[in-house]
Each structure stands twice: as structure tokens, then as C-alpha cells.
Symmetry: D2
Subunit: 360 residues, 4 copies
């Protein structure tokens, strides 16, 4: 239940207020040269405190790899890793020991486990995503060898949406601003909105779009292992995710088959088929077709507000909760590398599976 | 890859033009009385030819259970079952042997397997969902003992949407019309649209909403096994599904945390906590909280059109395809029982998992 | 729990007194030509009634494949299959409805499930192994393409043991006698013993040896997925198996490291290393090394005796059981193809896994 | 491939010459009080350097738990842990960089992965079993709450065998001598043999017997998940294991059914059935029956000799290997806690699975 993937597998552990977050990556190909600085760089893209619009919690988030590498290469054995937790202000949470925070996991956890670590959300803390980013960064390095790239960006914050499809923006600009939207003008409006929401002690939701290029045709399988079902599971497992679609998605539900057909363009003998459009989003019948895969993930606004909240304790009595934790007014900017990581893990897993049946 | 679920597991097999579709259900609790007529009734809700707005392909779809029941009860051993294929007009597909149909799985299959059964879509045929409906019907009977009910309905066809949330319609009316929309007026407009689309040889997409009531709190797990991630994987594995959301979903991405908070209502000592709203959709932190779970699934329009289509063959040469198969102008009405089945399988699986840790 | 294998997976179903035994084979490579007559021939090697020393129960055991093949080749989609049960004399078991047979699964089943199908052992019937033989026969055909062969034989019945290692007998003679021992003289003594035991209404145990030749080096993995651990699990899952060893096995436990070392023979540059002995049994550190894999499986005598047995019923009261079923006095001859099947499934599964990491 | 168990799961990582060995324990019940000193004590039972007959390598083997515990109890979330490697004399292995040691995993590793970490056996090092001992110690504490105990002991070293069954020795004496044999006289002869073998630079094999008492009836499942198949897989996954049997085992293969029957003793109404003998070894039809489970595991002599060995390098050229590592002349004494750990993990996993279906 704390393992993701079938061939390329991440097993994750750790709470925000324990000694460390970490995981085990199993199933990576042997002999891959790994650039650990690039892995660390991805971790820093999700690090708290990176800009004025993220939480001010400070964490060094330094990766320590404990196994699986020898002389700079993967050996094919599992990669154990940890990231120490540093800036723990557990006492900030003392008043939450018995309170059930609205729209948090507190009540559901009690129902499931009969007890909970109330500090910082315990296992439901966003710090858990550190393990995903590490495993995703390894997967990206493996994928880059076969020409696959993964890029995500913030496409909506509150009601401010980037009104263009992914192929009409310059994705290389994504990291040029704090909100990670590749369109400068939209980005400034998003940032202004987040600052305003933060000033009001409130939070705001949004949408991240993710694009995967260079995926070889043939990944995924026809029934339960559809590539987009795996991607949906990956994305919906991220904290605060509430929706997923790919290709034409929800917008295409109102369309006709004749509008949505991706017609083939006749090709010279032997050339790979090409399509005149990509409403399908790079996956047909659950299997990649070589076109770009693009998808959207909807995130709810963070439930932790920096204002007093009336709620109940575990005995059902009314209590007022004065939140002192440091939280993100909007998770989107820091969720971008997490979305990329889960996409990379999923595609690399599907790629390894396909190696069983084909010499891709 | 043809198995769904971890504790309650369906392993599915069969192509539309082979002798039979079937599966193996593993992990069901022993000692459950099973009403096989009720299982058959669910199969007939997805059967082709059931109304003027579905495909006219005729199938008896008679369930044959081969194991796992003794004197009307489950024994705890696997339930093998088959449904024979009857109305096979394989020659309808002769002209598709080499053609790659646009927006179908044909090209992706060839890329994956190097060969394919071109008749009726092979494994990507919607007949595969028979196995899901059977496993779902068994799960529903197990769930009904603990007070869980699952109901889905068509909430949008093309641009015609039912403009009310699920708790403002009478869900018991869902099966009173051919399109399975519980609002009579909206239903007639949907049916008229489907008939028009059909007359034009075209197809149309839409949205199905699914509601699960009575789920005990505590199902699902905090990280990769989030209950909504499992539901997303289940729903997105259905043919033609393009999007999934639950609770506030995509619509809530534009909202603020203060608007979306589901506040607890103080309760007498010992009573289960109650919430004043349910924007969360019955799941918090990936774990059920006892409130209704509701979700939406977007379906694309079926790619098979009843009109001539210009495409290519596997050598890349242009061909014109004159479709003769009998297909649904809109998959929504027949997909309703499939959505219910996948929801039931997922919830029952999560329920069995939770029995490991709690005496629910 | 009714699925074996990770990549090449058999999911099995069926009781001896239900309509059919069957299964689903998932994960086979696409494009393999399959000789169904050869699969049927393996089934007939395990069929009851094949000789005077097996049970006289008569079964046609005719295989019906329901999916996954197209024009004589695997498509890569799951192979569903059934074998109808024919010679059911369920009334033979009426007196066993409440009795708990000694050394059978009856009591353990009741403890596990709270109810049981008392007819013919239900799910613990040896008929369940039909599914294994089918999946094993498919695996053998896939393995034969890469030069792997699997052969098992009866090496001990009661105290009559074949006193030679596998490489000093002519394995091609295995099927020339009813007990499947490749040494004619030993075989006749074994047969005489089984006939005597049968005449006394008793049963007898023994040992089967299995040899796998041509396994490429590199199969298996270093820790929990050791190739011999997978083989042990496979063999011990066969009804009546009580012990497993490979290579030097139990006999080598009394030896010294200096005696057991398999020394390398220096080879010309580029040639695959060769070893002067094979005490290791073809597996080192859990991974195949290219030498022959050989192993032994110990079988207990069948618990069902053809004589009156004093036992208790489910309320603990004494009852006398007059067995009327038709059973094998010695399972060894019919277990030979089952051992081969489980070996083939395991090796093919390990081979497919290794294809992920290496172009074998 | 580095994960063991289905519900209670250990995912293990680490090489002997990397920074740390560790793992993730998933699926433990929430709310269990854990005595970490008892876990540490088990680690020290497998620690090198504990007596004159084990390797003199020195390791502190101090357990560091990183997650999953809160205020002394399990939370139900995964338990990450590490044990730092200390006494690494990697240079001892410099002469092995290219050499292929006879009867080691070196050649098989190269065939599998194309490269290897030659220091100390890399992933095939016995240090990997640290993770097993930790997970086993947690499982034992969970099992002790329901009355299950696990105890193993050395029953054979070379040709010196303890000539009595487990129920005729005082198992509480096992740890009173260095070889962990509960019979003082046999133990001294075993120790003398190991000292002699060590003095000759040689190694010696043996057998460990393991007894599990108090297992509730109903654990395990009838077909592939037979409890003894799981135990076989667990035991055979331990380094140097070559054979496994349980109950009557290989010795019973020569017996008759009438001799081996475990007859029920009539009992007062409602009392759990009792058997007059236990040739079955506590498992019938793959399911525990409430009697003691007992099994044997055969270990080969360690392949690493403290003498010069003629072998080849990876190019096939002859080399002489002068071993400088510090190794055990006999693995049995240190393998006793490992056998116990794997037994405990397997039984606890089976117990959790059975909780799905029964209120045990």
C-alpha cells in the first residue's frame, strides 16, 4: 500500500515529524549512469521556502543514497535513500492533538487506524512526496536515454486559466517564474492572486497540465493496465488531487465522433504512421501511439487555513483551532515537480513492462 | 495485466469473436448467499440491443458459473465463469484486416504485439466489460450486506447536461428511460440527440455520475492506495473513458479553501461525527469518511462511425473503410452498469483490505 | 491466492465436482505458434485411469481454449481455458458430508472458511492440477524456442530408490513404463510395490526428480526472488508435496566447502565459463548459471485409504468412514507431468522477467 | 523482487560495502506496542563476531527506526529503518574485482546485470539478512499477542546430527551455547567440528530445525498459497539454503498412508479437534490445523574458503585467489535467528490475510 509501480517500484516511508522521509527504488535497469545533482535539483524544485508564494517552512532536503549505486552507475539492486527532516516545530501542533481539522484526513485516519500521529499530518503530510520526486528523477534519467521527456506546468490558479493548449506555449519558460506557468502575463496574474489569497489567510486551488513527449508506441495494456488508467492512479495519489483527464478529456465529452477522429496521414512505405490531430492524447485503447501524451490534474485548495476555525474534537465537542503551522496558500507551484515525477515513474514502469514483449 | 483488485480480484479473458468471454473472481468472502438472477439482470443492463439507442447486435449474454458456489453460497474458492459469444459476424470485419481505423487501438496494438485479431476489436472490444459486470454484481451483493449501495446515471450527453447535483434528483428513476438519466425531461432531450446523431452516422460522448452510499469510514490508504486513486484507475480502465473527478473535482479547482471546508457539526458524545457539507466527496486524505462518495467519468464519442472513413493500411497506403459493424451511437446508457460494477469491485476490495486492520 | 507467477501468470479455478476446471494464462509472449495437441498430450499424461497403478476414475479431460489464440498463434492477450468434469460420482461422498477425514484438509478448511464442499475434496482435489498442466504446456512450448527442456521422473517409491544421479540414466525412457522411472529394473520393482500396497488398501509416498536443461544464465534475482525459492514455492504448492531440495540439497548439508566447490575451467577468451562439477545445481546466489538445474520433490503417501477409518465428525463425535472414492495408491506417476509443468511455468516467468533487463 | 510478503511486506535494500543496510516494513497492524530493545537483541543474535566460531568481522549493527512509530506504538504506516555498515575493509576485495569465485554468485551476477559490485558479495552478502531479522522481530511481537511463538535451532552440522525430534529436547536451552543446539552434548561435538574445519581453512554445512507453536487453524490457502509453500519460499530465499521439508518430509516419502495418518481423538462437543499424532507437521491441504508446525532447512557449506583457490577471471583466464575476507566457517549459528525471522514474517502475513475472512 506504500508501493507504487509493478516493475519499477517505489516503496515509500516517513512522516513529517519523524527523523526522515525515504524510500526504496526497485527494478531500475543496471548500468545506468546517474547524475545525483540532477536528482537533488528536482528535490529543490519541490522544497518549501523556495519563493514568497510557498510555505516558509525551511528544509534542506538533502538526499542521501544508501545503496544500489557503484562507481556512479546503477547495479540493478534496490536504491535505498533518505532525506532527514530538519525544521520540525512539533509544538505548533500541540493544540491539534485531539481536534479534528475540517477537510483534513484526521477523522478518516482515526476511523482507519484507531490512533494517529497528529503532528504535521503524519503520513498524509506533503513531505511524503519527497520520495516520489527522488524516484521520478531516477526514472527521468532512464527515460531520457530513450528520448522521453516529461514537463508539467501550472495551467490554472483559481479562475485564472492559461487559455492556450500546451503546444502553443514555450514550455522551456515554465521555471522562469514562481508559479511555474510558462506564459509570463498569466503567471503574474496567478502570483498576484496567490499573494492576495495568502494575505487573507485563505488558500486557492488550480490545475496542472503535464506533457510527455517521445513515448514509444506500444506502452500500456488493453484492459485494466491501460496507460491512462495507470497515469490516473499516479496523479490521483498526489495529495489534494481531485480530478484527472487526458487528451480531449472532459471537454471532449460534449463532442461528436466525427469531430474527434485523429485521421492518419498516408505515409511512405515503412515510415511510422502519423496523425493529423491528437485529440486522443497519445493513447488509444490504453496503449501509447507515439504522439504526445498530455493530461490535466485538478487540485483542491489546501484545507489548512491561517485563520481560526471552528471544529470538533474526537469526542464530538466543539473546539476552536488556531492554526500556527506554516502552509502553502497554493500547492500548485510545488506540485509541478511531483506531477512530473509520478508521470516519469509511470511511463518508465510501462516501458520496462513492454521490454518483456518487444525489443523497443 | 488482466487482473484488477488486490484482495477481491477479477482476472478477465476473452475477445468478442472468440468462443467466450469470462473471468475468475478470487478473494470473495465464504458463506455469502448469491442471487444469480440478480447477477444476470446486471448483465442484461449492459446487453446490446436493449433499446433503440444502442447497437442492434444481439447477444443472449447468458452467464455460466463454473466453480466457487456450493448449495447457493460462496465457498471462498475462486468463481470461474463464462458467457458465450453468439452473434459473431466476423466477415463484417474482413475489410479491416489490414486497415488501421482512426482513433481506434489498431495501430497501438500492432506496435505493442506485432499482430492483432482484427475482428470486432479483439481484446479492446466492449464485450470485455461483461467480466467486470459479473464481478461487480457479486461485489454489490457482498456490499449490500453491510449497507453499501452503488448507483450511476447518465448526467451529460453531448452538450445536454443534467443541471442538478445527485442529491437533488430521484436516483430510483434512472432505469425508467433508455438513456439512464433520472430526470425525465433531460432524458428525452438526450435520447432525441442520440437518435439524431445516429441518423447522421455519427456518435456522441458524455458524462456518467456515480454515487456510493453507506461506505464505512476508514476504507482506502494514505499514500498510493488512496481510495479515489483506486476509483480513478477503475473508471479510467473502462473503454472510452477520458476523465475522472470526485467531490468538488475540476469545478472546485477554482475555489478557495474557506469555501470548500466541510465543517464538522458538534455531536453528542459517542455519535459519529457529521459534516455540514460534502465538498470532499466522502474521501479525505485518501480514506473514506462515511459521507456519500460521488464522482464523474467522462466518455469520448465512440470512434467507429457508420460512414465511409479515409485512413491508411499497415503499410501506410491510403484506404477507404466502409464500416459495416453495428455499434453504439453513444456508449453512455450501456456504460452505466459498467461504472457501477467497477465502483463496487473497488469499494469491496478496499473493504476487505480494511478488515485486516479493523473489525468493521 | 489462486494466481501463480508474476509476469507469466496462471489464475486457476474449479472443484472436482463442479461443472469444470479451468484457468486464465496471462503474460505469454505474442506471436508464438501453439501446438494444442501437444498441450492435450500433457493433460493425458496426468489423466486418471491411464494405467493399472492409477485411480480408475475416468475423465476425458478434453481441453477447450476460449481466447488468446488467433490463427494458431498467441496474440499476447489472456488465454482462458476449461476442462469439463465428467465422471462425478458425488454420492460416493455423501457419507463424508460431516466426517473429518484424517490427514486431509477437511478440518483445516472448516477452520478457514466456516463451510466446505465435501465432494471429492472440493478445491483441494488433485483435479485442480489440470490448470497447472495446461499452463505448463504453453510455457514449455515457449521455452523450447530458446532451447530449454524440462523433464521429471519418479526416482523413489517407498524405500525403492533409483540409485543413480540424473546424468547416468537415459531420461528419454521415462514414459516407457507406468511409474515413469527411466530405469526399467527399478521401475518394475516400484510397480510391484504399488500393486502390493494397492491390494492392501493402502498408499505409498516417494520422490520425483526434475531436470531443466538449457536455462540461460541470469534468471532469478539475488534476494527474495531467488530462482530456487521460486521453484520451491512452485513444487511445494503441488498436492501432497512435503519436501524440496536442489543441487547437493540435504545430502550436501553434511559436506565441506572444499568438497562442494564447483571449480571453473579456464576457457578461451569470450567463451562462456564452464564448471568442472555442478554441486550447485545450476543456480548460484539465486541466479541461474547456465548449468543443468536439478531438484527433488518428496511426496507423502495419499491420505485416502481404501479401508475403514475411525475418525470424528465436525461435532467431535466418533464416526467410521467407509471410503468408496477411487483414489491413487501412489501419486508419483501422475505427478510427474505436474512437476514438469510447475518447473516450466517458473522458468518461463523468470525468463520473461530477465528480458526486462537483458537482451537474452 | 526485493519485497517479501503480501500483506505484511518487507522491502529490503543495501550492500555490505555501502553506507547502510535497511528496509521498509509495510502492513503492520496499528496500535501495537513495540519493544525496540527486543528487536535489537534479535539483531545481535545474528551479529558477526559474537563467538569464536563465527566470522571475526565486527559490526555494531545498531538499528535506527525512521518512521511508523509514535509514542511507542505502531501507527499502521510503514516502518523505515537502517543499520549502518561499519567495519568495511573494501580493500580486502580488490583482488576479486575481476576474479569469478567458485560456487559464488559472481558469474551469475555478471550474466544477469552485466556489472557487479565485487566488494563483499554486494547484494548477495549475508548482511542483507539484517533487514529480515528486523522485520521478523516486529512480526514476532505481533504474533506473541495471539500466542504464537517461533523457535529455531541447529539440528545438524556436517555429519553430527541431533538424533531426537523437537518435542524431545528443551528448546529453551538453544541459546546456551555458541552453535545454538539445545542438546549440550551434541552442541559441544558440533562446536569442536566447526573449530577443526575452521583451522583447516574450510567450511561446513548443516541443518536448522524450526518449530512454530500456537498457530491458529485456518492460515494459508488451498492452492498456490499453501502455508508450507510460503514457508518454503521464505526459507529457500535465505543465503546458502539448499533444501526444505516439513512434517514427515523427505523421511516420510518412504512411508505408507496407514502409518502416516494423524487420527482424530473424539472430543467433547464444541472442543477443538485434537490429533493423536502430527506427521502432517501442523499443515493439511496447505492450511494450518492448530498443531505445531515444524520444518527443516538444509544449508550448504559456505563457498568462501580461507585458502588459495584456482579459478578464472571474467575473460576466462586462470587466476589464483588468495582470500583475505573474514567469513564464517559455518553459517548455522548465525542463521538460526534468520530462519526464525522468515518464519515469523510468513506466519504473520498469513495471519493478517486470514483476518480478511475470519474473526480470528
Amino acid at each position: 500500500m506504500n508501493t507504487f509501480g509493478e516493475i519499477y517500484r517505489l516503496t515509500s516511508f516517513g512522516e513529517s515529524h519523524g527523523p526522515a522521509i525515504g524510500g526504496v527504488i526497485d527494478g531500475i535497469e543496471p548500468g545506468l549512469e546517474i547524475d545525483l545533482d540532477a536528482v537533488q535539483a528536482q528535490l529543490w524544485r519541490r522544497r518549501p521556502g523556495q519563493s514568497a508564494i510557498t510555505t516558509q517552512r525551511r528544509e534542506d532536503d538533502r538526499l542521501e543514497v544508501l545503496s544500489g549505486l557503484f562507481e556512479g552507475r546503477t547495479t540493478g539492486t534496490p536504491i535505498g535513500f533518505i532525506v532527514r527532516n530538519a525544521d520540525q516545530r512539533s509544538h505548533d501542533y500541540d493544540n491539534m492533538r485531539d481536534a479534528l481539522r475540517p477537510s483534513h484526513a484526521d477523522y478518516a485516519y482515526m476511523a482507519k487506524y484507531g490512533l494517529r500521529d497528529h503532528r504535521g499530518g503524519g503520513r498524509s503530510s506533503a513531505r511524503e512526496t519527497i520520495s516520489r520526486v527522488v524516484a521520478g528523477a531516477f526514472a527521468m534519467q532512464a527515460l531520457s536515454r530513450i528520448g522521453v521527456s516529461v514537463i508539467a506546468y501550472t495551467s490554472q490558479v483559481g479562475s485564472i486559466a492559461l487559455g492556450k493548449p500546451y503546444d502553443q506555449v514555450d514550455l522551456s519558460l515554465t521555471d522562469t517564474n514562481a508559479v511555474r506557468c510558462p506564459d509570463a502575463d498569466t503567471a503574474s496574474r496567478m502570483i498576484a492572486l496567490i499573494e492576495q489569497v495568502k494575505a487573507e489567510g485563505d488558500t486557492i486551488g488550480g490545475v496542472i497540465t503535464c506533457v510527455i513527449k517521445g513515448v514509444p508506441p506500444g506502452l500500456g495494456s488493453p484492459v485494466f493496465g491501460k496507460l491512462h488508467a495507470m497515469l490516473a492512479s499516479a496523479m490521483m495519489s498526489i495529495n489534494a488531487a481531485k480530478g484527472f483527464d487526458y487528451g480531449m478529456g472532459f471537454d471532449g465529452a460534449g463532442s461528436r465522433g466525427s469531430e474527434m477522429a485523429d485521421l492518419f496521414v498516408p505515409a511512405a512505405d515503412g515510415a511510422a504512421p502519423h496523425m493529423a490531430s491528437n485529440h486522443s492524447g497519445g493513447i488509444q485503447g490504453g496503449i501509447s501511439n507515439g504522439e504526445d501524451i498530455y493530461m490535466r490534474v485538478a487540485f483542491k485548495p489546501v484545507a489548512t487555513l491561517l485563520r481560526d476555525v471552528d471544529t470538533i474534537d474526537s469526542a464530538g465537542r466543539p473546539v476552536t483551532l488556531r492554526a500556527k503551522g506554516r502552509h502553502d496558500p497554493c500547492v500548485l507551484p510545488r506540485a509541478v515537480p511531483i506531477v512530473e515525477a509520478m508521470a516519469a515513474i509511470t511511463i518508465y514502469d510501462a516501458y520496462l513492462k513492454q521490454k518483456i514483449y518487444s525489443r523497443i
